[in-house]
């Protein structure tokens, strides 16, 4: 899930110009849970990423995909010595999206605030608040991410978009580290890596509001937490990322980073067994081939839109199909920030449904290089 923080194009402005020293990801990182669910302030970027599929408890035909994310963007490794409550060294950014798979609507909401007590910030263990921010302008209340003792509770509201989420999760499977010891490489460079773990299957319930209608929902989510510094290689411009939950109880995470020529520069993956055992996948063990494209009428970006994924070692050949074509998130707060983040279903070559997941496509249709 490398990629997500890189969405912050505006972080081009926030490099280590003022003697900022950040820690790179390390192979020998010593994990400590639950503390590592909270912010790790020595790293430049960090995010908590939730995606999932939900179904109305009252009307099972009503299905939704959702995304809820908090980003921490480190501006400075230490708080400047200033007599002001606006003093900060982090920005908090939140993205949330709901795809109404029945009506075909995709709603997106966002917040960007400097991390200060007035507007948002990051809690410290054992305070249950992991991250919070004010709701978007025009909406009363807050967006929050809290530890519930087993997993996470999170909520968001946006009156202008007419959407809200209030969800509780608990793990159906144990936490997995992505990459050996959670050291997830993103390129050949020495710092091109992040510390990365996931809850690949979280039982989820709560309420979802769309256009003022409040729906009790239940479903499954995928959670990623990642932190690191300078993760992208010099000529990497974007990435494709897949989180797939198979009906047989396995999960697959795949990502590949693209260079300016559109070629795959670096790729990795993880296969999680029914029992929660991980097998890290090298590029030779799998392939992803897109078979269709979709052009955004709003941004003009052309995204791949249907894929054939093959895992040779597992004798697995699956087709990934977007539930909706338009699940593009377009930021109004950050210039030139748009990406495709959408619910997908997994089918066999014959069209049989065998799972669901989420796909993220970043760096299409823009020359702005993500700054992670």
């Amino acid at each position: 899930m490398i990629c997500r923080i890189g969405l912050l194009v505006f972080l081009l402005l926030a490099s280590a110009a003022h003697g900022v020293e950040w820690q790179p990801a390390r192979r020998d990182y010593s994990w400590s849970f639950p503390q590592d669910h909270w912010a790790r302030s020595g790293y430049r970027t960090e995010w908590w990423y939730f995606t999932g599929h939900l179904t109305s408890e009252e009307e099972p035909r009503q299905r939704f995909g959702y995304q809820f994310t908090f980003f921490r963007i480190g501006l400075l490794s230490e708080l400047p010595d200033l007599q002001s409550s606006w003093t900060t060294n982090n920005v908090i950014m939140g993205h949330a999206a709901i795809s109404d798979l029945g009506s075909g609507r995709h709603l997106f909401s966002e917040v960007v605030y400097r991390a200060i007590p007035l507007l948002g910030g990051f809690g410290r263990y054992p305070d249950p608040v992991i991250a919070w921010s004010r709701a978007p302008a025009g909406t009363d209340g807050e967006w929050t991410l809290r530890w519930n003792g087993h997993a996470f509770n999170f909520s968001m509201r946006d009156k202008a978009q007419g959407m809200a989420l209030q969800l509780t999760t608990r793990p159906a499977k144990r936490l997995v580290l992505q990459g050996p010891n959670g050291f997830s490489r993103k390129g050949e460079g020495p710092t091109a890596a992040s510390q990365y773990y996931s809850f690949t299957r979280l039982l989820t319930e709560g309420t979802l509001s769309i256009d003022g209608e409040r729906v009790r929902v239940r479903g499954e989510s995928w959670m990623d937490k990642e932190f690191g510094t300078d993760q992208l290689g010099a000529d990497q411009v974007g990435w494709d990322w897949f989180s797939l939950q198979l009906q047989d109880g396995r999960e697959i995470m795949l990502y590949f980073l693209r260079n300016e020529r559109g070629e795959i520069d670096f790729a990795r993956g993880t296969l999680v067994s029914q029992e929660g055992e991980t097998r890290y996948l090298n590029p030779g063990e799998w392939s992803v081939r897109s078979t269709q494209t979709w052009k955004s009428p709003k941004t003009g970006a052309t995204y791949p839109s249907r894929w054939i994924v093959e895992l040779s070692g597992e004798n697995l050949r699956i087709v990934i199909v977007p539930e909706l074509a338009d699940q593009e998130n377009r930021s109004h707060l950050v210039k030139n920030l748009f990406y495709w983040e959408g619910a997908v279903r997994i089918e066999t070559a014959e069209g049989g449904r065998i799972g669901r997941g989420y796909v993220e496509l970043v760096g299409y249709g823009t020359r702005s290089r993500p700054a992670i």
Partner: protein
């Protein structure tokens, strides 16, 4: 006829150079005076508007404090309101650039992560530098060029008694957003602005963008209700209207004065047109006898006048712009020092000003020429070719005109007495009536005065007597001079009285020996404070016996912005600081000291209709505060006015805060200037403005004089127009009476005699204009002092006679009249006896 107009034009222009020049000059000066003032008036507000656009360009409206700052905790409240699409906080502060006299930067502290459009393409590293590099500031390229600063250069500024080192981090061209934005705008992160230059926890403004389709008035109402009365939610237009309200009296007075200049200019145009027509009378007669219709003659005259008006506009526009440019500095100083608004840094001249100039110039010229042209075109051929007898008709109308003038004056006076007292612009109606009546009085008075003169020889008596004979020509010159003198004397008396009144007021209220403030303090600067330690150290300085502390900021009383001053009301002998207009001094001050009462300035009392026993309602951080009014004192502050209370009462209602300036009283026998030098040496590293009593007074009067600088320019322009009128009149007389002059030469008059006769006529007109103008000036001064300044500024001005300036002006006018007579006198003296015609025999 068109062909004739075109072909004859060159010959006419060559033949009557001086007349044409004076007509064009008259129009040009009239246009220039109006355009100059309109440019200044417009740009005074444009500077304020430019500041709004540059800082709040994207905002639909803004939250502003009713006190200078308000708590930043209101920001999330704004964000939470439905219909708000975006909001961003602003911390705004004026800082003084060290080592540059009165050079201020308008530092705007933004939240760089708020969704606000900045005219700035940041470079890699800018944001982290802006957050963490102490003093990082983005300045305009214009300022960088002016100061010789480049990115990375450091400079020092002060806010109150705090110094800060700022570093140029980036160049931001605000003038791309708003062309009239100040080059002195500087942007830094809000945390840095608060920490280095201001106060923690407080902000000045929240700019807001409404969501598309939102009902703006409803959203403003909801926000106002949510945020409470300590702030106000205003659209950019409302903010501009508030500024316009502050400046309205200032702008109105300048406009009125410029219109007087225009009025005087119209007299000149009238006179010059008449002169042109006199000169070409026989030509029109010839044209008529050759078959030209009256309409054609009228068109011919009008065409020529329009052309002359156009030329006057072409000359008046650059002249007006130049005059505005020459005076923008002093007006700008007035705006920032007195009205606490943005300085004017560049002058913009919109299209409508060109249109206005054309309307004034050409319209004025046509208006001035209309009656003479109509008169000339209506004459039959015979009378056009006969001797000119225009004056006789005026002579017969002199008394009816006088009666009309008297009726206008009496009628207006009666109207004012009965109904006009409560109507604010009533003073201007009185002034206009006076300026209309004066010219109507002129023919009768000239006739009467010259009628009393007995001619004993070919000298001064003859000169003066002949003025009464050529009444129409003379009356216009005398009238225009009288109006100019009225304006000159009236304003001189008003300013002189005002200055003397302020002197008396300053003598009683500025009593301390030394005054200490900071370079960045310009009245509105709540942050320009003195550190507590510094105040203690200054109070403990050897020789200092008492200290008077002042904490001052603006607050809102209803919709009116007023200044609130907190001082130690228990200071021994301190009562003189507030000269009361009534009441028992000791009891009034006891109430202020012990009962939490307030003193209000006369300006505020008059504007708000408040008096002793009423309550002054102001908005503090906790909402509305009602302070009992114990007394009213003499006050000459501009704007909404001033109220003073005990500093403990102020701290109770507005929260404790640092003070803004300090007055030190020295032991008897101390050399004040020496102590000032000692303090300056001791606090050389601290940004302080330490002035002795004498220096402070000088500063007060420097600002006072600056305020009236443009007024003096308008006076000078009017006088110049009027003096041109004398020259013009004498040229007319020299031409009109050429036969009479030839007779004089034929009967033995020598050239010197004719020369001095004409100089005598000039002096005579100067004296008559002066006499009438003196009376008019005294009346105008009365209107200005007792009606207009009271209605618009709320000041009570004591009448003093500034003898010396008035005498100087009298001599200047007479000297100008002599100078204006020299050229016509020379022309007249050169008239040969051969100019006698058969008609004169």
């Amino acid at each position: 006829m068109t062909r004739y107009f075109v072909r004859s034009l060159g010959a006419h222009l060559r033949g009557g150079r001086s007349l044409y020049f004076l007509t064009i000059f008259g129009v040009a000066l009239g246009v220039a005076s109006v355009i100059c003032i309109q440019i200044i008036n417009r740009n005074a507000l444009a500077a304020f508007r430019g500041g709004i656009q540059a800082v709040s360009g994207d905002a639909d409206f803004s939250v502003l404090g009713r006190t200078p700052t308000f708590p930043e905790r209101l920001y999330p409240e704004v964000l939470a309101e439905k219909g708000v699409a975006a909001a961003w906080p602003i911390y705004r502060i004026d800082v003084a650039v060290t080592d540059r006299e009165a050079f201020f930067l308008d530092v705007v502290g933004f939240d760089f992560f708020a969704p606000v459009r900045m005219p700035w393409k940041g470079q890699r590293g800018d944001i982290s530098n802006a957050l963490a590099k102490h003093g990082w500031v983005a300045i305009t390229p214009q300022l960088a060029e002016e100061m010789g600063w480049a990115v990375g250069d450091a400079f020092e500024v002060s806010s109150g008694s705090r110094r800060a080192r700022l570093v140029v981090g980036a160049l931001v061209d605000f003038q791309r957003v708003s062309p009239v934005a100040s080059r002195k705008l500087a942007v830094m992160d809000i945390a840095q602005a608060q920490s280095l230059l201001g106060r923690r926890g407080q902000i000045h403004q929240i700019d807001i963008q409404a969501a598309e389709g939102t009902d703006l008035p409803a959203l403003i109402s909801r926000l106002q209700a949510r945020l409470g009365p300590s702030v106000q939610v205003l659209t950019p237009e409302q903010r501009e209207n508030l500024a316009a309200g502050l400046l309205s009296a200032f702008r109105l007075n300048l406009t009125a004065l410029s219109l007087i200049s225009l009025f005087v200019g119209l007299f000149l145009v009238y006179s010059s047109t008449q002169a042109l027509l006199v000169r070409r009378r026989s030509e029109f007669g010839l044209l008529r006898s050759l078959g030209a219709t009256r309409r054609q003659v009228f068109g011919l005259i009008l065409g020529e006048v329009i052309l002359l008006g156009g030329l006057g506009v072409a000359l008046g526009l650059p002249l007006g712009y130049w005059a505005a440019e020459a005076n923008v500095g002093v007006v700008s100083a007035t705006l920032s020092n007195v009205y606490l608004l943005e300085e004017i840094e560049s002058l913009q001249m919109p299209l409508w000003l060109y249109v206005l100039a054309a309307l004034i110039g050409v319209g004025g010229a046509v208006a001035g020429a209309l009656f003479p042209a109509l008169d000339m075109s209506r004459k039959d051929t015979k009378s056009l070719l006969a001797v000119f007898t225009l004056h006789e008709r005026v002579g017969s109308m002199a008394f009816p005109l006088f009666v009309t003038g008297t009726s206008i004056l009496l009628g207006t006076g009666l109207w004012f007495w009965l109904f006009g007292w409560d109507w604010r612009p009533a003073g201007f109606v009185l002034g206009i009536a006076l300026l209309i009546a004066l010219p109507l009085f002129t023919p009768f008075l000239v006739q009467r005065i010259t009628g009393w003169i007995r001619v004993r020889g070919f000298g001064l008596g003859y000169s003066l007597k002949s003025l009464g004979v050529r009444l129409q020509t003379t009356s216009f010159a005398v009238s225009s001079l009288a109006i100019a003198v009225t304006m000159l004397i009236g304003i001189t008396l008003m300013i002189g009285s005002f200055r003397r009144t302020v002197e008396v007021w300053v003598n009683s209220s500025v009593k301390a020996d030394i005054y200490v403030s900071t370079p960045s303090w310009r009245g509105r600067q709540s942050e320009a404070t003195l550190d507590d330690d510094l105040v203690s150290a200054l109070a403990a300085h050897p020789g200092v016996t008492a200290v008077d502390r002042l904490r001052k900021f603006f607050v809102y009383s209803g919709e009116q912005r007023i200044s609130l001053a907190g001082v130690d009301m228990g200071l021994s002998g301190g009562e003189t600081r507030f000269p009361l207009l009534g009441g028992e001094t000791s009891e009034v001050f006891r109430k202020v000291r012990d009962d939490g009462a307030v003193l209000i300035g006369e300006t505020l009392a008059r504007k708000a209709g408040l008096g002793v026993g009423d309550r002054l309602s102001v908005f503090g951080p906790g909402g509305e505060v009602k302070l009992p009014i114990a007394g009213v004192y003499s006050d000459y502050s501009p704007g909404g006015g001033l109220a003073a209370l005990d500093i403990r009462t102020m701290n109770r209602h507005f929260g404790p805060g640092p003070i803004h300036s300090l007055a030190l009283y020295l032991e008897a026998g101390q050399d004040t200037e020496r102590v000032v030098d000692e303090l300056k040496a001791r606090y050389a590293g601290t940004p302080l403005r330490i002035r002795s009593n004498r220096r402070l007074r000088e500063r007060i009067f420097k600002i006072f004089d600056q305020t009236f600088a443009v007024t003096r320019l308008l006076q000078a322009m009017s006088l110049l127009i009027a003096v041109c009128g004398i020259t013009l009149t004498l040229l007319i007389l020299a031409r009109e009476r050429i036969s009479e002059l030839a007779v004089c030469r034929a009967v033995g008059a020598i050239r010197q005699q004719l020369f001095w006769i004409f100089v005598g006529k000039g002096v005579g007109m100067g004296l008559l204009g002066l006499g009438l103008g003196l009376v008019g000036g005294i009346a105008l001064a009365g209107i200005l002092i007792f009606v207009i300044t009271r209605a618009y500024f709320g000041w009570t001005i004591q009448v003093y006679w500034p003898w010396l300036p008035v005498l100087q002006q009298i001599f200047t006018i007479l000297a100008a009249a002599v100078l204006a007579s020299l050229y016509p006198a020379l022309r007249a003296s050169q008239t040969p006896a051969t100019e006698l015609s058969r008609d004169d025999m």
